[in-house]
Every structure is written in C-alpha cells, then in structure tokens.
C-alpha cells in the first residue's frame, strides 16, 4: 500500500514533519510524525472511528508483516492483524500514553496473538497494577515516553548490522530462548528507570 493510495487523513490528525537518522546514518525527512498516542486517546475517550482508521492504516500492515516474518501465512496474518486492531479498539481503556508508546502497546497485543495463533499456547501475564490510565496524564511524561521511543529507534538503527539482526530474529521468533543474547547494546536503562519511578510513585499512592 503506497502513501498515495491511502484515503486522506481525517482533519485534525497528522502533524509535524520530523527528521530522523536513517540506517545509513544520513538525516532524512520522514513521513508525518503523527501523534499516535493522541489518536489512541481519542479512540479511548470518544470511540473516535476516524482516529481508529488512521491507526489501522498505519499499524495493521506492520502487524501483518510482523506476523508473516514470524512464520504466519498471508491469510492467517491478515486475520490476526484484524484481531489485533479489534483488541486495540476494545482495550483502548487500558492504554496510558505516559507508560508506553502506541507501537509498543500494539506490539504486545500482536505478540500475544502470535503465541495464541502460532504456538497455541497460553501466556501468563503479570498481575495488573491498579493504576489504570489517568484521565489527564502529565503531558511532560507523555512527551518523555514518546521521545524515549524515538531515541531507542535511533539507537537500534545505529547498531552494527549483525547485532541488529540478532535482535530482530529474537523478536520475530527465530531464536529459541536459550539462543537469545542478553546484551542488546541498546540504551534500555533510561526507559527502565522512568517506569521504575512511576511504579514507586504508584506504590506510594497505594500506601
């Protein structure tokens, strides 16, 4: 699907044109740095179908590609991508833009769907914390979460090819758990620290 073939974005969506370092190290203009988190919040708070459509156009083809790289056939991947997007709609109330990017959230849904569909196994999830999304998340925290994801994307792009390939293979289900290398070379410490702080704050509030 090319950009031109897409129906126009609903008004009020879209945004700044950003620049990002490409894999070869050059700076290139990239497509609209759309505020995906803002769109998902609209889905969450107002059941906004136009916002859902924009999310679908961006994420469904990526989920489909992710599932096909993980070994699903095209038809199964298409069906599962549909399921993933339906879950995104249904569970939008659990999304908190201060905690994770939309891409991360979509990834976790797609991963669980893959385990279900391809491995026919159950996946135990950690106990849910009773923090729920705040109605008005701190904008600074939201921005920080988004910038962190962008930084992580740049760091991943800057990795030497063999290392990057290993990470991709791990996440595309190409490596068994004993083959996965622990050292990613990615700056995960900042993300961990931010989430750790948020958890401490929450524990404090819960008393």
């Amino acid at each position: 699907m090319t950009e031109q073939a897409l129906p126009p974005m609903p008004s009020g969506i879209g945004g700044m044109v950003g620049s990002r370092q490409k894999k070869d190290g050059s700076l290139a203009k990239v497509e609209d740095e759309t505020d995906w988190a803002g769109l998902l919040v609209k889905v969450r708070d107002h059941q906004d179908r136009a916002a859902f459509a924009a999310l679908f156009r961006h994420f469904a083809p990526r989920v489909k590609a992710f599932l096909m790289k993980s070994g699903a056939g095209a038809a199964l991947a298409e069906e599962c991508a549909q399921d993933v997007m339906a879950v995104l709609w249904q569970k939008a109330h659990l999304f908190d833009p201060a905690r994770a990017s939309v891409a991360t959230w979509v990834y976790t849904i797609a991963r669980n769907r893959r385990i279900d569909a391809l491995r026919k196994a159950r996946r135990a999830e950690p106990e849910e914390l009773d923090w729920g999304p705040e109605p008005e998340p701190d904008q600074a925290e939201v921005l920080e979460a988004q910038q962190e994801t962008e930084r992580l994307g740049r760091a991943l792009a800057a990795l030497p090819a063999p290392q990057r390939t290993l990470i991709e293979r791990a996440f595309y289900g190409d490596l068994s758990h004993s083959e996965i290398a622990a050292e990613t070379g990615l700056p995960l410490g900042t993300i961990k620290s931010r989430i750790r702080l948020a958890l401490e704050k929450l524990r404090h509030q819960m008393g």
């Binding site: 590609a65 996946r123 135990a124 950690p126 106990e127 996440f171």
Partner: protein
Amino acid sequence: MTIRHHLSDQLLMAYAAGQLPEAFNLVVATHVSLCDECRARAASFDAVGGVLLEEAEEIAMGEDALARALERIEGLPQATRSEPLKPAGIFPAPLADYVGGDLSTVRWRKVGGGVKQAILPTGKDASARLLYIPAGTAVPDHGHRGMELTLVLQGAFADENDRFGRGDIEIADEEVEHTPVALAGEDCICLAATDAPLRFRGLIPRLAQPLLRI
C-alpha cells in the same frame, strides 16, 4: 520484602519476544508480579518490540480490510474495565489462575522425605510445578540439564552459594550442581520450571523420576 535475586536479561528479553515455553512464562509473570524492578525491565524490552514493529516494512492489508475492521468494531463494545485477576494468598495472580485458587486448592503428591509437589498444566516444552519443602529439609542433590527456574513463594532456602526468600528467583543451568536446603522457620513453597528432566544423584530419586514426571 526485598528481592535480591532477579530475572536475567536473557529471560526478560525472551519473555518480551514471546519465545519462552509456557512453564517459563508462568514463572516470569509470577516473579514480575512481585518485583517492580523486573516489571520495569520487562517493559523496556517490550519497547524494543515496539520500535521493531514501528520500523518494520509494511505488507499491504486486503483491499476491504479497513472497511471490515470498521464494520467489526461497530458491533464491538469497548470493554469497560474488566475485573483483573486477583492474587490468592501467597500466589500472585498469574499463578493463582493456573492453580485455580489458593494454597488450599493445591493437590500435593508426596515425593519422599516430607517433600511434596504438584505439577501444573502447561505445554510440554517445559514443565512447571509447585514444591513444598518442610523447613530444615534438603532437596536431593541434583544437577540440571537445560535450565531450571525456582521462585520462592513462602519461607526460604539456601544452597552452597546463597539464600533465597520470597520473590527471589534462582536460575540454574548445567553448570549448577547444588543441594538446596529449606531454612528453619516456615515451610518453603516454590514454583519451579525446567525445560529438561532433573537428574538426581542418588539412586532412589533417579528410579522414582519417571513416576514423578520431573
């Protein structure tokens, strides 16, 4: 409660990548339920998956895909907050879900020497079980093939190297050969998972092994 023994990066990354056997998933999810440090680390590995998804190539959906999706969500109410799974006594929520209740619902089988176990229903690529070790009792000296995870839920045990209390996880591989002993005080209850049968050093446990399915 201070947790001193955590999950490895390798396990957390494999968990985020969805590549762990079901029995290991259960141990990881149970530890993360008790350990904010590992919860935050797990989330950072999820973010790697998010970035890979974002940067991935796209494969076009079918022509009517969006129309179908819009039609589908039309009939799909957005879920109101569903009741999250609850912990039950010493069992964090994911484990309580597998056991189907709290400690009183566990159907223990005697292993000998006062040690009891209960095998949990998981996929066959690895096995998970609850272990009940009376305070002061040693678990038979054993080495490992593959990997073995042991998460303490109650009481504590120690081996030649270290002490493990509630929430602590011991990760043992082929290198480790040890004699864990449940410490005096409370009886020790653990969740253990392995992707290979344990091999016991003593003759009797080795004979009993096929019967115990461990």
